[in-house]
Amino acid sequence: MTKSEKANSPCGFTSKLHLDKHISRRFNEELEQVRTLVMKMGELVEQQVNDGLSAVLNADATLAEQVIARDKKVNSMELEIDEYCTQILARRQPAASDLRLIVSVIKSITDIERMGDEAVKFGKNAIKLAQGNFAEEEGARPLVELKHLGKHVSETLNTALIAYAQMDVDAAYNIIENDNIIDEEFDNISRLLVTKMMENPREIKNALRVTWCARALERIGDHTTNLCEYIVYLVEGKDVRHGNAK
């Protein structure tokens, strides 16, 4: 988006949303609280993703167990934030940007919770892989690719969460546009692993597990893209999901 387009867009005179400055101080606090909770959930899930990935790459069963256990917290946070938002809707009848905030938060936490579930998949696969003594040399290339993809996805997630905190629409648009890179990388890994499976039928089980991990990463990428679409909706009021015109 060019600068002039930005100026003519809704709330074009400024992109800051002033999520405070309501006459009702309590309302300000409630909205701040919602944002804080969402950010906390995001941080938690980010950690889950990183830990899960690490567990897979290092065949660390203990770490994997931790990741699986912590998912409970992620789920309970989703419930908590959902309930909080419902109450705000009931009591405040928010309008305009406040309304968009609540709606986007409700949608975001679904995606964040799903990311948490994907992280759990890492954990489960990591345990299986650790049991199977999947040596790094044997599965060197796919694991390297996985590591590479994992780093990309993790960075993307981090950028998205920062953009969410700062309501940075440009960063969000960036991530949306670059979603296809993750898909391409996933296709690469898939192909590699298929080759590996064809070469070494003994390693099919493990290769499949690695495939599933890659798939989980791809899904995490999709969810991250969704988060960015919600950022755009929140700030600009435009619904850019499903490739809607930008």
């Binding site: 709330c11 405070d20 400055k21 804080t36 928010p94 905190a165």
Partner: protein
Amino acid sequence: MNTIDIKQSEPSQVEFNPTELTQTVGNIYADNAKMAIRNVDVFYGNKAHGDKQAIHNVSLDIAKNQVTALIGPSGCGKSTFLRCLNRMNDTIENCRVTGQLMLDGEDIYAKKLDPVLLRARVGMVFQKPNPFPKSIYDNVAYGARIHGLTNNKVELDEIVERSLQKAGLFNEVKDRLKDPGTGLSGGQQQRLCIARTIAVSPEVILMDEPASALDPIATAIIEELIDELKEKYTIAIVTHSMQQAARVSQHTAYFHMGKLVEMGKTEDIFTRPSHKLTENYITGRFG
């Protein structure tokens, strides 16, 4: 792990001076406009003692068979503007209206147009229910009588019954039509005033905060009534309650200090308003 620091919102200043507002944002024109208002100014006071300008260069359309809501803070001129549409401002001393106001393409301030005729086509319902101190029947029949719409009693009875039916009041009062209108409850009185207005078969109904003096149930009944009435009439409503505007209208116009800041479809105004002032008013910021 990266901790994300949440950007604290800075204390903001008002981005710009509202008096510099020069252009209305949004969509002020309607495809099928019943009333078209262009470049209207309203002044109070006379040239000798200094004019006070209440409305600054407002232009908008009132769409046919739809409800247009006028919202804005106290003293922003929305009631004054509404009263221009049926020339009720003529009754106020030292009030001057300039600009073009058209009903179906006719200028309503033309010298040859009788305000009495205009008010038969553009009816008004006021904030505080004000039934005449006459019977319910006479209240509703009054308009029809003074305009000579009918000569015989049978037709008049019909008009009264129909109007009361449309206003959703008939079943409650059908066996006490001779009772005084002032003996009804607040919500019923307001519905009586609405029945009285539609008995004249106007084309446009103007409502100046019709439900502000009523309890929630009576308000809900009136809002439902407005929704049904728009099938036959064009309605413009001034309201202090944004939720009411959101529930009841298809188009919303936001006024601020005598200027039209933004106008558009109600859904758009309430989910993604274009102008900062509108946003602030709707979300309850800065007063």
